[in-house]
Amino acid sequence: MYISLPDRRARKSPASAGIPVTRVSSVVVTLGIVSMLTDISSESVASILPLYITGALGLSTIAYGFIDGIYQGVSAIVRIGGGWASDRADHPKWVAFFGYGISAAAKIWLLFASGFAAIATVIAVDRLGKGVRTAPRDTLITVSSDDTNLGRSFGVHRMLDTIGAALGPLLAFVILFFLPTGYHVIFIVSLAFATVGVILLGLLVPGRRPRRERAVSGEAARPFRWRALADPRLRRLALAAGVFAVLTVGDGFIYLVLQARSPFAALWFPLLYVGTNVAFFIFAVPFGRLADRIGRGKMFVFGHCGLLAAYACAALPLGGAAITVVCLVLLGAFYAATDGVLAALAGEFTPKDSTASGIATAQTVVALGRLIGSTGFGVLWFAVGSQIAIAIVAVALAVAIPAVLVVMRPLITERQRA
């Protein structure tokens, strides 16, 4: 068993030395901008892909569903691999660079791909890059931050990331508005954004070597070991996150419930996710700061109250614009309170030499849990109807929140003692 777990609060990293502890490192902001540029690139293409495949290439949407499956699956599988490679090589920046790089390269292929197999390959490579880069990038955020501002750092990163995810589709649709057949123009714009992101990462983000740095500063450094992931705190976190993930039904289901009841939601149905994204980026930084103040474990658990409130909103037999907007704001708040916080917690509860693997493990548990949750919810939906199905999941979540609070209690109180 790995026993030596020095308190992260005591850590002094070169990036944070001399900087007031509450300020977010410029490395985090740079990584945020890299993610923003990359998300503009990826989401602009992803948003018009159904149109391109069905409308321009004349492929069927069944084929599209198949491509979408690749999208989700590949990313989850390689995520752990990316974390492992990052820890093993002690080069989080260059593993992340590889991930961003192959996603950018995929955009070049997209310019020439025209058959189903070619498009499927390009998408798989793009998602491969996303899977590989996520954990090492979150590791860079962790090592470039201080315990007092880790939540805020992730908040800043996720805010910039979500802005990119919101801007990408808007950019693509503005181009299509003026140029209805301008798919290749969008691909070229997408390639330009991705390339700038990769150059920015390569030249301006310092190549940290977390393990070597600690060895130099006299801390005990150990090579990566799988059993480092057996830390009981990480296990508790993974259990808690897994339980919550299974009770997190896809946003799409909530939008469908809203659409069925509210003419406002029906009119704006294809755009409801934009509302969620906007709430996400507005709340990301304030919630990150709050997490630093009250404790990230608490924030993670209480963030799920936002999801519970969103379910309640959707289950209430009320229509109208206000309830739709409230529901989207709650969903966005839920993501803002939990997404970056989970990565921060996973980093906190993993030995430093295994940070990337720990973060990757937690994120993979969540991804798989949500897949199971959404599939199960789909079955429930048709078995008992949407309204009752949402109510059942809401009750389950209402029970799970105090239960998870008990599971997480050691993690929360430990922080307060520290």
Binding site: E43, A46, L49, P50, L51, Y52, T54, G55, A56, L57, G58, L59, S60, T61, I62, A63, Y64, G65, F66, D68, Y71, F116, P169, F173, V174, I175, L176, F177, F178, L179, P180, T181, G182, Y183, V185, I188, V189, A192, F193, T195, V196, I199, L200, L203, L204, G250, G252, Y255, L256, Q259, F269, P270, L271, L272, Y273, G378, V379, W381, F382, A383
Partner: protein, 343 residues
């Protein structure tokens, strides 16, 4: 490299790459608009009066970059390669019919492009004015009117949580053109091989009407299989007729149904067009081996029309093939999509 040099390189490359991309967009847009603004030199007409004393007219969506891309256009059925007459209406899927009063009625499914892109189905009267409008949950797919213009049906993909996540879910609605909604076909009772079916993954698409305004055909899918179903509007039922048949289209004389049939055994569908004789239950496969993904339109009782993607992205052509399967397909209208025959 010092940090200052690296910063300079990043700023310069961002300027060159993003600026270059911006310039490319500007040039492409200018080039496109120079070609697509309707000029007085092009023959234009209001959307109405499509049917005329001179015989049937083909109403379609122009996909000609140089001639009214995205606008509804028409040509005489007897002379499909004649200069197209463009209307001022833009649709992504269109279907037109003549009402019993002799007016042209048009169902126009649209991607309402903009910073916030939405989707709608619009029923247009003879003057082109929007009579009714329905919001759609995603990309337009199929649109139909009954031959007497009394019923309208349309299918859209359910785009869901983001543009990027179509998981092949469809929504099909049927309404009377004077204002009664029958709603989403998901709320009809589905009967497959005599058994009521309430499977989790039911999907419906591609409705088509018959001479009887209570009866229609559509596609039902569940568990990876598709069925041609016969719908009854009064009873709100959908009853399976035949397996592996999608996007039906009933011949003008009502004796046959053309549909697309998945002939692939693998994961990826390959559709061919087949014609079913209703009286004899005999299915004939059309001799066109290309992958055809469209809801067929009958030019007359002997000829089928369907859209095939063209060489360039966004371009397509309308092809014709004899409905008895005796001869190969021929190019019917180049740079066109979504044909409907207005009689």
């Amino acid at each position: 490299m010092s940090r200052r040099v690296r910063l300079t390189v990043v700023v310069l490359s961002a300027f060159v790459l993003l600026g270059g991309a911006g310039a490319y967009v500007a040039v492409s847009v200018a080039d496109f608009q120079a070609h697509t603004v309707l000029t007085s030199a092009q023959s234009t007409a209001p959307i109405g009066d499509a049917g005329s004393a001179d015989g049937a007219t083909i109403v379609f969506r122009s996909t000609d970059i140089a001639n009214g891309y995205g606008f509804v256009a028409r040509v005489p059925a007897a002379d499909p390669t004649a200069d197209r007459v463009l209307t001022g209406v833009q649709c992504d899927r269109v279907y037109a019919a003549t009402t019993t009063a002799g007016d042209t009625e048009t169902i126009c499914l649209r991607i309402d492009r903009g910073i916030l892109t939405t989707f709608s189905a619009n029923l247009l009267d003879d003057s082109g004015a929007t009579v009714r409008s329905w919001p759609l949950p995603g990309l337009p797919s199929r649109a139909r009117l009954s031959a007497d213009g009394e019923l309208v049906g349309f299918t859209a993909f359910v785009t869901g949580e983001s543009y990027g996540s179509i998981d092949f879910s469809t929504a099909t609605e049927i309404s009377t053109t004077d204002g009664t909604d029958f709603g989403n076909l998901e709320n009809f009772t589905l009967i497959i091989d005599g058994q009521p079916n309430t499977a989790v993954d039911r999907n419906f698409w591609g409705a088509t009407f018959t001479g009887d305004d209570n009866v229609f055909y559509a596609t039902a899918a569940t568990g990876g299989n598709t069925w041609l179903v016969r719908g009854d509007l009064a009873a709100r039922t959908l009853t399976s007729v035949r397996e592996t048949a999608e996007c039906p289209s009933v011949s003008p004389d009502g004796t046959r149904i053309a549909y697309k049939k998945n002939t692939s055994t693998g994961v990826i569908a390959h559709w061919s067009i087949a014609v079913l004789d209703i009286a004899t239950d005999k299915e004939t496969l059309m001799p066109d081996d290309r992958n055809i993904d469209d809801q067929v339109e009958w030019l007359d009782n002997d000829t089928l029309l369907y859209t095939m993607p063209g060489v360039d992205a966004g371009d397509s052509d309308v092809w014709a093939i004899p409905a008895d399967g005796t001869d190969a397909s021929v190019l019917f209208i180049p740079h066109a999509a979504s044909p409907s025959v207005v009689r």
